[in-house]
């Protein structure tokens, strides 16, 4: 019997798993996909917000300001990629300037730090490619960027190190409450746990309804994005938001933690939770809106477009707490600024468990650190010399665009989480993230996965169930001794 079962391996579920791994608890996280961070977590803006935007008094406002302050230490412990870049909310007219004042006031109440309003010229002095028509900007020095999927991976790997079990391809179809525990009915058989934490993201309403708690719904709110080549990083190293106007929040132009430029998102409610298709209408709308902030945004420099869905709750705020069903905790409706809030939410969930009377004994063996990758890109000559002497695999470059070595890929495969897909390697190492988008390296990454895990080339997937890449050997008839002929 588990003490705690967490449903959902997004950034919220993994953050909670890592937080609970500080204690002597038997914890398992179940995830329906092949890896952590494969849905909302992998496709969002990747911003660590300053905490000024979410309304004061809301859980969003409280947790985002608190979560923001936790990132520097988390990065030091887990090395997932985080940079404090600062952010601007830019205004183009007087109406929007009033919005800046409102945000400043709201942020101060939330406890956001590093806020000030600056002139358009001052903003352009810091980011020279900003549009001339920007009149004022709200500067938030504590805002930053992170790599959300690498954060989820880092949290999960650290949780594994500290004793949390992860079950992938495990989908919860029903939850049964007995006298003193729960039975989760999954496609992999029943799981028993004293406490269930519902961090199922877009599907949190369905999971909650399984126990009769159906007082909210989660509607997918789509965000499409365009990613630009690294050689466009000159445009900005500050996150650029647009001040809201007529109910529209505008689009953002932001550096990613790896120095690409990201433009987006839209914000449209859609019907299907799993629908992450992009459309040319929305993509051109985003590009046009982005050019209001920085007119140098160049369509020819696009390397990828993608979409993700935010888990927007009918309650329009986070829902965090034990439900009327004792022992069943919802962590639902975690949309933006959910990524920023994740570390603070995780601590809060641990507190909730304490209040529920769970015996929380600190684990003396808890190790908060995760080894950083030895990334050869940008290493000095002597660093490369030593590293390759130690392990020659670091001298074999697999991904040319991002300069990723075989050593890094092998390391990623052996960090405690099962690797079955090319995208899992891509999210961890960046192999395939560059301008050729895996054209050259995908076959070689597959060979390495096959060699290291024993999966056949046909079994290796792009991104989970059914996303096979290869169908069969070309000469299988010959290999069978020509029996078909």
């Amino acid at each position: 019997m588990l003490d705690v079962c967490i449903i959902g391996g997004g950034v919220i579920g993994t953050a909670i798993s890592r937080e609970l791994s500080r204690y002597q608890l038997q914890v398992r996280l179940v995830e329906k996909n092949e890896d952590v961070g494969t849905e909302t977590t992998k496709a969002n803006s990747g911003i660590v917000h300053g905490g000024y935007d979410a309304k004061h008094g809301s859980l969003k406002g409280f947790f985002s300001a608190k979560g923001n302050a936790m990132y520097p230490q988390l990065e030091e412990e887990l090395h997932f990629g985080y940079r404090q870049t600062g952010s601007f909310v830019v205004a183009f007219n007087e109406t929007q300037e009033i919005e800046l004042d409102r945000l400043l006031e709201n942020g101060t109440k939330n406890g956001a730090r590093g806020l000030s309003i600056i002139s358009g010229d001052e903003a352009r002095e810091m980011e020279p490619h900003l549009s001339k028509s920007i009149t004022k900007a709200l500067l938030c020095a504590t805002a930053g960027v992170t790599s959300p999927y690498e954060l989820a991976v880092a949290l999960a790997e650290n949780a594994v190190k500290n004793g949390v079990e992860f079950s992938f391809h495990t989908e919860v179809n029903g939850v049964e409450k007995t006298d003193d525990h729960f039975v989760l009915h999954t496609n992999q058989g029943p799981i028993e746990a004293k406490i269930v934490i519902n961090a199922a993201g877009l599907y949190a309403d369905r999971v909650s309804a399984m126990i009769g708690e159906d007082n909210f719904t989660i509607t997918p709110r789509q965000g499409q994005y365009v990613l630009l080549d690294k050689d466009q990083s000159f445009m900005t190293d500050t996150v650029i938001f647009q001040a809201p106007e007529n109910g529209s929040k505008g689009v953002l132009v932001t550096p990613t933690v790896h120095h690409n430029i990201l433009v987006g998102p839209n914000s449209d409610y859609i019907d299907e939770k799993g629908d992450v298709a992009t459309t040319s209408e929305v993509i051109s709308r985003i590009m046009e809106a982005g050019r209001k902030s920085i007119d140098a945004i160049n369509t020819r420099k696009v390397i990828r477009s993608f979409a993700g869905n935010r888990a927007t709750s009918s309650k329009h705020d986070f829902s965090i707490g034990e439900t009327a069903v004792k022992g069943f905790v919802n962590v639902a409706g975690i949309e933006s600024p959910g990524l920023t809030s994740a570390p603070a939410i995780a601590v809060h969930v641990a507190d909730i468990l304490k209040e529920m009377g769970v015996e929380m004994v600190a684990d003396p063996n808890f190790d908060p650190t995760r080894k950083a990758y030895q990334r050869i890109a940008g290493m000095s000559g002597s660093e490369l010399k030593n590293l390759i002497a130690e392990d020659p695999a670091y001298g074999r470059v697999i991904c040319r665009c991002e300069t990723i070595s075989e050593g890094e890929i092998v390391d990623a495969i052996h960090r405690g989480l099962p690797i079955t897909s090319v995208d899992a390697v891509k999210r961890r190492t960046r192999a395939g993230m560059g301008r050729c988008q895996g054209g050259f390296c995908a076959p070689r990454v597959m060979e390495i996965i096959s060699r290291e895990t024993g999966l056949s080339m046909e079994e290796i997937e792009k991104q989970g169930k059914g996303s096979y890449l290869l169908t069969k050997r070309t000469k299988d008839a010959l290999e069978r001794g020509g029996q078909d002929a």
């Binding site: 990613l227 050689d231 799993g274 992450v276 298709a277 992009t278 459309t279 040319s280 993509i283 369509t299 020819r300 696009v302 390397i303 990828r304 477009s305 993608f306 050869i376 000559g381 002597s382 490369l384 010399k385 390759i388 002497a389 020659p392 695999a393 670091y394 001298g395 074999r396 470059v397 040319r400 665009c401 300069t403 075989e406 301008r435 050729c436 988008q437 895996g438 054209g439 050259f440 995908a442 076959p443 060979e447 080339m457 046909e458 997937e461 792009k462 991104q463 989970g464 169930k465 059914g466 996303s467 096979y468 890449l469 290869l470 169908t471 069969k472 050997r473 070309t474 000469k475």
Partner: protein, 418 residues
């Protein structure tokens, strides 16, 4: 530190030809750095024939073509390091590279030839929208899977783009038992060589749908189909013509881009028309002692001309090392009406032997037209062809004595009606 007279970055057809020619011209201390396990570059996966008609006057497969050069190399003292990745080249021509075997290396080069080739444009670059399942491959990646790894990437295929690799792969996948439903080409003409359209599509009854594009990819996990559409004269999809084709694989053959990251990091500007460095008649770049040839300069359609360009750069290196390469140029070239780009971008007469071959591409299909070279209003030379196609590179040769009659300045190439 290792020291060489010439370091060649990339052991594909361009680099091999450059090294062999430099050797023949007397350069002795030459090193080729190749990132892959074998020399030959992309030729290794091009197992079809049709290579070498100009260069060797016979039809070879890709590996046979590169074998010819590797055999020539074996007769020399040229050194080769395989599985070696060049990270960076400094302004003082120090090459930083790594390999598993040798670790980190710094190599001092008197001259450098860039011959890194090109890469394929991807789904992101052409802004193909819809779902993002597995089963969308660039044609070259599919070619590698089939011809080098021995695996089929799918069973039912739609190909977007009629570049040569796409056409070759239509035939290749058909021969391996896949069904190629259609090849869609955005433009009203094909971007592949005519012989490939005949031998790879027509011979196998594969429809070539001109002025058509893929507007959407369907499928959550693996490709389940695509929506294709006819496009109007502004290349915009016409909604009434949307049509779904079921398939499990989409191959993209939508253009190639020279790989110039190392070039740009070395501080050499890239020409936005070719996406390669600007070069002179012997493929010298703006950085003294640095040369570039093959698809890293501009995308070729025949390997024979890649080799030709490689040889030019090899000759240039030899001249440079002897101190005989003149640097001040006499002419710059310009692309006038109908011409997309011209290579070389500069010409220095004293480096020219007998004639200069100007490579260029036309922007559209031109029937009964002629390409003319002008200086100001003066007609310098003209090039006749039955038909000019964007898919087929124009080789416009002008004799040295013709050029010698001109004053220094710009030579402009234009397409004109006959």
């Amino acid at each position: 530190m290792l020291k060489y007279e010439l370091v060649v970055v990339g052991g594909g057809p361009a680099g091999l030809s450059a090294a062999v020619e430099a050797y023949e011209q007397g350069v002795r201390k030459i090193l080729i750095l190749e990132r892959d396990k074998e020399l030959g570059g992309i030729l290794n996966q091009c197992i079809h024939n049709g290579f070498g008609l100009h260069r060797f006057k016979e039809e070879l497969t890709g590996p046979e073509y590169s074998r010819r050069y590797i055999d020539m190399l074996d007769e020399t003292t040229i050194e080769i390091l395989k599985e070696t990745m060049v990270l960076e080249i400094s302004e003082t021509k120090v090459v930083r590279a790594i390999s598993a075997e040798r670790g980190y290396m710094e190599i001092e080069a008197e001259a450098i030839v860039f011959s890194m080739g090109c890469r394929e444009r991807t789904r992101g670059a052409i802004q193909l929208q819809g779902d993002r399942p597995s089963g969308v491959f660039t044609a070259g990646t599919a070619q590698r899977f089939i011809n080098m790894e021995g695996y089929m990437p799918g069973k039912r295929v739609v190909i977007l783009g009629s570049g040569d690799i796409g056409l070759i792969m239509a035939r290749r996948m058909t021969l391996e038992g896949a069904k190629v439903e259609a090849v869609c080409e955005l433009m009203p003409y094909s971007n592949g060589l005519t012989r490939n359209i005949v031998q790879c599509l027509e011979d196998y009854d594969i429809p070539l749908m001109l002025s058509h594009t893929v507007v959407k990819v369907h499928g959550k996990s693996r490709v389940e189909g695509v929506t294709i559409a006819k496009v109007d004269e502004n290349l915009r999809p016409i909604p009434e013509t949307f049509q779904r084709i079921d398939c499990d694989t989409v191959l993209l053959s939508v253009g190639l881009i020279p790989e110039n990251e190392i070039t740009q990091n070395a501080g050499i500007m890239v020409d936005t028309r070719t996406n390669g460095p600007k070069v002179g008649e012997l493929r010298q770049t703006e950085m003294p002692g640095v040369f570039a040839c093959g698809n890293v300069v501009h995308v070729h359609d025949l390997v024979d001309f890649v080799s030709e360009e490689g040889a030019l750069s090899g000759l240039g290196v030899a001249k440079y090392l002897k101190g005989e390469l003149e640097t001040a140029s006499n002419f710059t070239t310009a692309n006038g009406d109908g011409i997309g780009y011209v290579v070389p971008q500069t010409v220095t007469m004293s480096n020219v032997d007998d004639q200069v071959t100007f490579y260029m591409r036309v922007r559209s299909v031109y029937d009964r037209h002629i390409v003319r070279a002008y200086q100001g209003d003066t007609l310098v030379a003209e090039k006749k062809e039955r038909k000019f196609l964007p898919a087929e590179m124009v080789n416009f040769k002008i004799k040295k004595d013709v050029l010698a009659n001109l004053g220094d300045g710009e030579i402009r190439f234009v397409v004109e009606e006959v």
